[in-house]
Symmetry: C2
Subunit: 227 residues, 2 copies
């Protein structure tokens, strides 16, 4: 269920660009790469503009010239990260054709692959609350794009009777939250590959939106329960 | 489904102390209360021992005397927060009697009530990565207690055929992660009461562990799907 294995490849019409599964190193300027490391190590408030400039080996005005402020650096990183995620989510979604289950599987796989292989960028999420209200809004608009992709799939799946959620928007947010938490434990534990985590979370996410696969041995006919 | 309403009260044997629903202001020393505010406003690294001492109105050595270091202050807050959560989770669990669905409902309700009414303490979770490895371990042991409560319920529900998860431990972690994300949006949005959020997340969590309530109009007979 974690992607187009032999079965899925024959069962679904594959459209779109399958490159959403490839995770090359992020294309960031040296300034942003070093800032990302410092924010990860010491937090946004624990990192000064001087720290970043020293680490990159540039003068402080050069940093101000490029990003305006330390907050500008954080915003540039968050915008890069979220745009990359959004592009991958769209490609993964298109790759699932017209099938809500395959679309959901692909998009969750894309999100989890990014959470596990780009942990530093993914962990920046925790620094969003330090953005000014205007910049937070700017970031939220981008991030909402990923939420929109998933919610649209959940709504479609509900309409077709394959998913069953009482509140599609809240279930979508909950499913994204469980994926976003992955960077907090993935590297510390180090016992699962990104692919295995992706497969597990595809299964959990599908269950969370009320999908029951008849092929999945973990799901058996429901016991009727009197309350 | 968000707690023992009239139906649940007659259907399940209520044991334990129902006080887990009451959320009094946290009982923290003035030093910890002010440190919590500062960590929330400026992050752990953005807060100095001097900042905390100034805000409380004590000399710096007094702070070192009580907590050893700034990290000691963070650890004291995390330990208070996690112990409080664990006590509530145990009480909520006991209050659900022998019924995995009611136990799960109660524990998720207890967790969400805390996430929504004690947002500052709940948000501290993001600062855990700044703890030293030994202190992080000490904290994780406490936190694992809450995970153990939920996982034990999921395993029991699976054994009785009312829940259906492929990996109980991972589903437990995912369900807790969606609850832990609530403080990140709850106050910013301000459109739902803690009780409504709790009811929604009880429903989402039960669905996520593969429970299908026959009384829930959002869940219909599953469509058999050929893949």
């Amino acid at each position: 269920m974690s992607g187009p294995g032999p079965d899925a490849a024959t069962a679904t019409k594959v459209v779109g660009n399958p490159s959403w599964r490839r995770m090359e190193p992020p294309e960031l300027s040296p300034m942003l790469t070093h800032a990302l490391d410092l924010f990860y190590e010491n937090g946004f408030h624990g990192t000064s503009v001087r720290d970043i400039a020293n680490r990159v080996g540039v003068a402080i005005p050069s940093l101000y010239y490029h990003h305006g402020s330390k907050e500008g650096v954080l915003l540039a990183l968050l915008e890069y990260s979220t745009s990359d995620m959004l592009a991958r989510a769209h490609a993964a979604d298109a790759d699932g054709g017209d099938d809500p289950v395959q679309r959901m599987s692909n998009v969750i796989e894309a999100i989890v692959l990014r959470m596990t292989t780009r942990a530093r960028l993914a962990a920046l999420e925790g620094e969003v609350r330090y953005l000014s209200p205007e910049n937070r809004l700017r970031y939220r608009v981008l991030r909402k794009g990923v939420e929109d992709v998933v919610r649209e799939i959940v709504v479609d799946g509900n309409a077709r009777g394959v998913f069953h959620t009482a509140d599609s928007a809240e279930s979508t947010r909950a499913v994204l939250a469980m994926c976003q938490a992955i960077p907090r434990w993935f590297h510390a534990e180090g016992r699962m590959s990104p692919e295995i985590v992706a497969a597990k979370y595809v299964d959990i996410a599908l269950t969370a939106v009320g999908y029951v696969s008849t092929a999945n041995p973990s799901t058996r006919p429901r016991t009727k329960r009197a309350r």
